[in-house]
């Protein structure tokens, strides 16, 4: 692992851990374990910011923690059911905002700022420090347009955009930074960019489970899903 990769991993892991710290213990056990592993494997990478400050391609540390929590509530993980954090949704959105969606940077900055004002006004603390149930209340208020204080983007536009980008991060090809190890495709049973299905496949009334799953630059030969 290069120093760069390790640092980025650390940024994402800390964001996910930060998000999960209050919202629910054990929310990101795999990432927790991974962070421990990274420390052991490459301690210099994990400690290159003694201040604890880390930065993504777009998100600063606080916004990354908020986004990790927000997207995990949209698509929560559970045992055998990978959610936003496990599939790398934060990584996807962070890279997209630094690239293909750079015209949405202000949309996210302002959306997150308005979210922070709303949470402090309503709960006296920031989104990342709310309980999972309270975070769900906030998301519902955004979705229904009931969250106050949103001018641009509107609460509903912000919610819908984050929802859409969360789905993209869950289900786009892993090349784009999410859908880690095809976990999103595995969740729903999508075999990826199969170049063909046979007449026998078309008659199948059961789950399609034949490996490999096929991506743009990678394949996975482990089972697609439990039938």
């Amino acid at each position: 692992m290069t120093k760069h990769d390790a640092a980025r991993r650390a940024f994402l892991v800390r964001a996910a851990v930060g998000a999960g710290a209050v919202a629910g213990a054990g929310l990101v056990p795999e990432l927790d374990a991974q962070m421990e592993h990274n420390h052991a494997e490459n301690p210099s990478a994990a400690h290159q910011h003694p201040s604890g400050a880390e930065h993504g391609a777009f998100f600063n540390h606080d916004d990354a923690v908020t986004m990790a929590a927000f997207t995990e509530r949209l698509m929560p993980g559970a045992p055998d059911k990978p959610g936003a954090n496990e599939t790398g949704v934060l990584n996807y959105i962070d890279l997209a905002l630094a690239g293909a969606y750079s015209d949405l940077q202000d949309f996210y900055r302002r959306g997150l700022a308005q979210l922070d004002v709303y949470c402090r006004k309503t709960y006296n603390t920031s989104f990342q420090h709310l309980s999972a149930a309270q975070q769900d209340e906030v998301l519902a208020a955004l979705e229904e347009g009931k969250a106050t204080g949103f001018a641009w983007p509107t609460a509903q536009d912000f919610f819908n955009t984050v929802r859409t980008h969360t789905m993209e991060g869950m289900f786009a090809d892993p090349l784009y930074g999410g859908n880690k190890d095809f976990a999103g495709w595995r969740l729903v049973g999508f075999p990826g960019a199969q170049a063909m299905f046979t007449p026998i496949d078309l008659q199948n009334q059961q789950a399609f489970t034949r490996a490999p799953m096929i991506g743009l630059q990678s394949v996975s030969s482990s089972p697609i899903r439990k039938g």
Binding site: A78, D103, F197
Partner: protein
């Protein structure tokens, strides 16, 4: 600034322009085709990428660089639409389309007269401008046949010279011969739809599609990978203009394609004749082509926009607009949807060509008695994925969960995980009527990357006739879903009144120069060497996808230009 001379300039090389380029080139005419986007290759489409092509719409115009604005009525300001439902490359929409290849019904060409004859004039909404075509099905049949055989369409005949055949579309107009290729195989959504529809007494069949079910013309058969709508075909089995007519045009030696261009004006002289076009090149250069014939075949917005932008002192209201009809009678399909999900089996709707896989025509056109229903004209009803594309991003965006299930959180995750491969969407594609206040014009505020005014659409399908039709069809589709044996059947929300897919109108064809922009050959009444060919000329739209009819009309116009206009330039009617 460059100036070139040619016999024919074609603006927009898609479903219509590609056919005209090949046919006129074969007749020895020198043709230059201007195309806004790039010319892609089959190799560009392997492997498939849902984010890039479906979600980020790479084969469609960039809505920020080429904005199109919409408003529901003339009283409100128009806003840019986020998704533009047409093509942006050589081959146009045929590169990414779902390939549905229909012949319109006989009564689709005379919807107004037919309605009055069977019902009464009062059955037509007072504000509708629905009109008969200046051509009949019989006029077009030879060209439908040619399009099916030259391009490669798979299907099963349901009406061979008047003989009805079970398993094909028994409501179709008579055809001279079978399809060139057998029907595409049904996937499980088609199998379930077939059985459910038959149980209810309807007449289902595998939809005719411009996809090769077997090798044909040196191209391979379909691999049933499922990446059709929004995607280019990775084996070239989709009979797009890119792999059919463009190679033919190249082979004539008379065709030159210029990509990355934006045509911004049709030039005319004081005698009222078109002299050619001006366009911006990919390097920003300002260029002129002098041509004997100018043919406009872009997506419909740009016909109206170009003709308005080309206004002169002689043509102060835009070219070809002495009738005042330019930009009027905009039509578009809307998609009403019912979802059918199964607890006891999988459907795997992501397999096989993705769009409108299996169809019933029982509720289209005037194939059923509308007496007392409160609306005229109907809809194709078909089965497929939630948004004509079956990948997980599209499904997460478009498969609205049933009432009571949220759109996010653990319950939503479980819903999507369980039903992604266990559902089908039954979709009605409705024949919305023409209304003269549904228009295309120039947006006064929004401009594109070239500084040209954006096309502005004024349109709202939610009219009494259309709403009554949608409600009727949603009820029929719920019945079909239950007859398919689905555990759960529910309606998708209807959404706003914006135009959906398959836009028509703006340069209506007719028999009378006072009430139409072009004649039956797409020749403008006002400027005989200026043609507009494509769905912008359709006086009514039918419940069928328009592409095969665009292509048939293009063959008919090409035939008239080659065999009549070329020898004796002047009005063809």
């Amino acid at each position: 600034m460059a100036t070139e001379k040619t016999d024919v300039v074609i603006v927009g090389v898609g479903a219509a322009g590609g056919i005209l380029a090949a046919e006129l080139g074969k007749a020895g005419m020198k043709v230059i085709g201007l195309e806004r986007g790039p010319r892609l290759k089959t190799a560009d489409f392997n492997p498939h990428d849902e984010l890039r092509y479906f979600q980020r719409q790479e084969l469609r115009p960039n809505a920020k660089r080429q904005p199109v604005t919409w408003r529901p009525n003339a009283k409100v300001r128009a806003n840019p639409m986020s998704i533009l439902n047409y093509g942006n490359q050589a081959g146009g929409g045929t590169v990414h389309y779902g390939t549905l290849s229909w012949r319109f019904h006989e009564d689709d060409f005379r919807a107004r007269s037919h309605t009055i004859e069977r019902y009464s004039a009062a059955a037509i909404p007072a504000d509708s401008s629905i009109a008969d075509w200046p051509i009949t099905y019989a006029d077009l049949e030879p060209y439908y046949d040619r399009a099916e055989y030259e391009l490669g369409v798979s299907g099963k005949a349901g009406n061979l010279q008047g003989r009805k055949i079970d398993g094909g579309n028994v409501f179709e107009a008579p055809r001279r011969r079978e399809y060139p290729l057998p029907a595409l195989l049904a996937d499980q959504s088609g199998v379930l739809f077939e059985a459910g529809a038959r149980k209810l007494g309807y007449h289902p069949f595998s939809s005719p599609r411009a996809i090769l079910s077997e090798p044909y013309h040196d191209r391979p058969g379909c691999t049933y990978c499922g990446f059709c709508q929004s995607f280019g075909c990775h084996v070239g089995a989709k009979s797009s203009i890119l792999v059919t007519k463009l190679p033919e045009a190249d082979a004539t030696g008379n065709f030159k394609l210029v990509t990355g261009t934006m045509c911004y004006r049709v030039n005319t002289d004081n005698s009222g004749r078109a002299t050619g076009v001006s366009y911006y090149g990919p390097d920003g250069s300002d260029n002129t082509i002098e041509a004997e014939i100018v043919i406009l075949t872009p997506f419909i917005y740009d016909n109206t926009r170009l003709l308005l932008l080309s206004r002169t002192e002689k043509f102060p209201n835009g070219l070809a607009n002495s009738s005042g009809q330019l930009g009027k009678h905009l039509m578009a399909h809307m998609m009403a949807k019912v979802f059918a999900a199964f607890d006891d089996r999988y459907v795997n709707v992501y397999m096989g060509p993705s769009a409108q896989k299996h169809t019933i025509d029982d509720f289209n056109g005037d194939n059923f008695d509308h007496s007392g229903l409160g609306f005229i004209r109907g809809s194709q009803v078909s089965i497929g994925p939630a948004d004509l594309e079956a990948g997980p991003i599209g499904t997460a965006i478009s498969l609205n969960p049933p009432p009571g299930t949220p759109r996010w959180g653990a319950a939503y995750r479980d819903f999507l995980a369980k039903y992604f491969a266990r559902y089908g969407a039954i979709v009605a594609q409705t024949e919305n009527l023409a209304y003269s206040d549904q228009t295309i014009d120039l947006d006064p505020d929004v401009r594109d990357q070239y500084g040209l005014p954006a096309p502005r659409l004024t349109y709202d399908w939610r009219r009494p006739n259309e709403l009554a039709r949608v409600e009727f069809l949603l009820t029929r589709m719920e019945e079909i879903g239950r007859a398919m044996g689905a555990t759960h059947v529910w309606r998708a929300p209807l959404g706003p009144g914006a135009p959906g897919a398959h836009h028509e109108g703006g340069t209506r064809m007719g028999n009378d120069p006072k009430t139409s922009v072009v004649n039956r050959y797409g020749q403008t009444w006002d400027i005989p060497n200026l043609f507009v060919i494509g769905s912008s000329t359709f006086p009514s739209m039918s419940g069928f996808n328009p592409t095969l009819t665009i292509q048939a009309v293009s063959y008919m116009s090409a035939n008239a230009i080659v065999n009549r206009y070329k020898k004796n330039p002047g009005p063809l009617v």
